[in-house]
């Protein structure tokens, strides 16, 4: 496999339009084919530092982003997501083609990776210590995640925490960060280093755009980390930052509510969740200012590397 930015755009486009490319993201390999130029262009930009192969080989997921029929190419154009030849979602308007790829890949991971305990969370790491930010959509976790990843924190994921059984280590799967609505401008203003892809309007989540994951996070994606802090973030405009400790019991239940497969794993899920909570300090975190938030986590993460 080669870094995508070492393959010419033309070769990449030829491969993805024909038999597809194999894209490596963390522990997963995805075979992806599409003929849609905007998807190809956004992939080439946002996954520039990921490894890909244009040769055939094993893949965990086989995805295709395509237009449903000849008719729908012209009349209210639509786009479909196919997974192993099935189309699990209704088609979306054609301009949302790149979004359906990212959402579809999230869906594949959260539905088919039960070798991990999976939480709906952003995860970042510093000094070998991982911080888990579980949160419902709109809680401000992706914005915080983007800002931390642009401030010398290593991005593991902005969407799914993957926790290995036995070791309870977090597995890194850095992919583009999905920014929504005002967050897009907030992150552009926060750092000139943010590389942001095409803006997609009128999705079910509003306006969205994806931020390229930092190079170092992608290059170190085979390095795992120990969970140290669980912080449930909540963005409240104008609020003063507050970091309130949660009891282990409260944190346990809140984390279960944010898990993709806690119930599926049964007793194994309970045991893994118990160990995770034992290992972590747990907080409710409210903020309105990203710099304040970054200072807070810089101050509470242990300075001593693991």
């Amino acid at each position: 496999m080669t870094r995508l930015n070492q393959i010419s755009y033309d070769n990449f486009e030829d491969a993805i339009r024909s038999s597809g490319i194999r894209l490596r993201t963390g522990p997963f390999t995805t075979n992806l084919s599409t003929k849609l130029r905007d998807v190809i262009h956004n992939l080439y930009l946002l996954y520039a530092d990921h490894t890909v192969s244009i040769e055939p080989g094993f893949s965990d997921f086989h995805l295709k982003i395509h237009q449903p029929s000849f008719f729908r190419r012209w009349y209210h154009p639509q786009v479909n997501f196919s997974f192993d030849g099935l189309t699990p979602f209704n088609p979306l308007p054609r301009p949302q083609a790149y979004a359906i790829f990212e959402w579809g890949l999230n869906w594949c991971i959260s539905n088919y990776s039960h070798q991990y305990l999976m939480l709906h969370s952003a995860v970042l790491e510093k000094n070998g210590h991982a911080v888990i930010f579980p949160g419902a959509p709109g809680a401000g976790k992706s914005t915080l995640c983007a800002a931390l990843s642009l401030s010398e924190w290593r991005l593991f994921s902005d969407e799914v925490a993957l926790i290995e059984p036995v070791s309870n280590n977090l597995v890194s799967n850095p992919r583009p960060i999905s920014l929504k609505n005002k967050s897009i401008e907030i992150i552009k203003a926060f750092s000139g280093e943010a590389i942001i892809g095409k803006t997609i309007y009128d999705t079910s989540k509003g306006t969205i755009a994806h931020m390229q994951p930092p190079v170092e996070s992608v290059h170190r994606s085979n390095e795992k980390a120990k969970p140290k802090i669980i912080a449930f973030p909540k963005f409240i405009p104008g609020a003063k930052k507050s970091l309130i400790p949660l009891t282990k019991g409260e944190a346990f239940i809140k984390l279960c509510e944010n898990a993709f497969n806690y119930s599926t794993l049964g007793l194994k899920g309970f045991d893994m969740m118990s160990e995770l909570i034992d290992q972590c300090d747990c907080y409710q975190f409210e903020y309105s200012d990203l710099n304040d938030a970054i200072d807070t986590f810089n101050s509470i993460v242990p300075q001593k590397p693991l």
Binding site: T247, G249, I253, F270, S274
Partner: protein, 104 residues
């Protein structure tokens, strides 16, 4: 009517739900206890009193007075002058029944 209800509650025998195993997660500095019940795969946040009630009923079915007698002995504090919180036990039993962990 009220007398009949009270009488019924005192003689009613309480026991844990038949199918399933209780798995507990406790922390030394916390009154909260997490229960995973293998019978239906549900997870619950309970108080320490809820934990004691379930553990006592797991050992053997009991009426409410019997349960209170055992619990009083278990959490007896020589400095404690307040009466045992009978109403709290009653409330816990109703809650545990509602979430399918005990039957009467």
């Amino acid at each position: 009517m009220r007398k009949t209800q009270a009488y019924h509650f005192n003689t009613e025998v309480w026991s844990v739900a038949r199918v399933g195993v209780f798995h507990w997660k406790k922390w030394p500095d916390s009154d909260a206890v997490i229960l995973y019940f293998s019978g239906n795969g549900d997870t619950h946040l309970l108080t320490y009193l809820g934990y004691l009630i379930l553990e006592e009923l797991r050992k053997s079915p009991k009426t409410q007075p019997e349960l209170i007698q055992v619990l009083t002995a278990l959490i007896k504090n020589p400095d404690e002058v307040l009466p045992f919180p009978t109403e709290m036990v009653k409330a816990h039993l109703f809650h545990l029944k509602k979430i399918g962990l005990v039957v009467s």
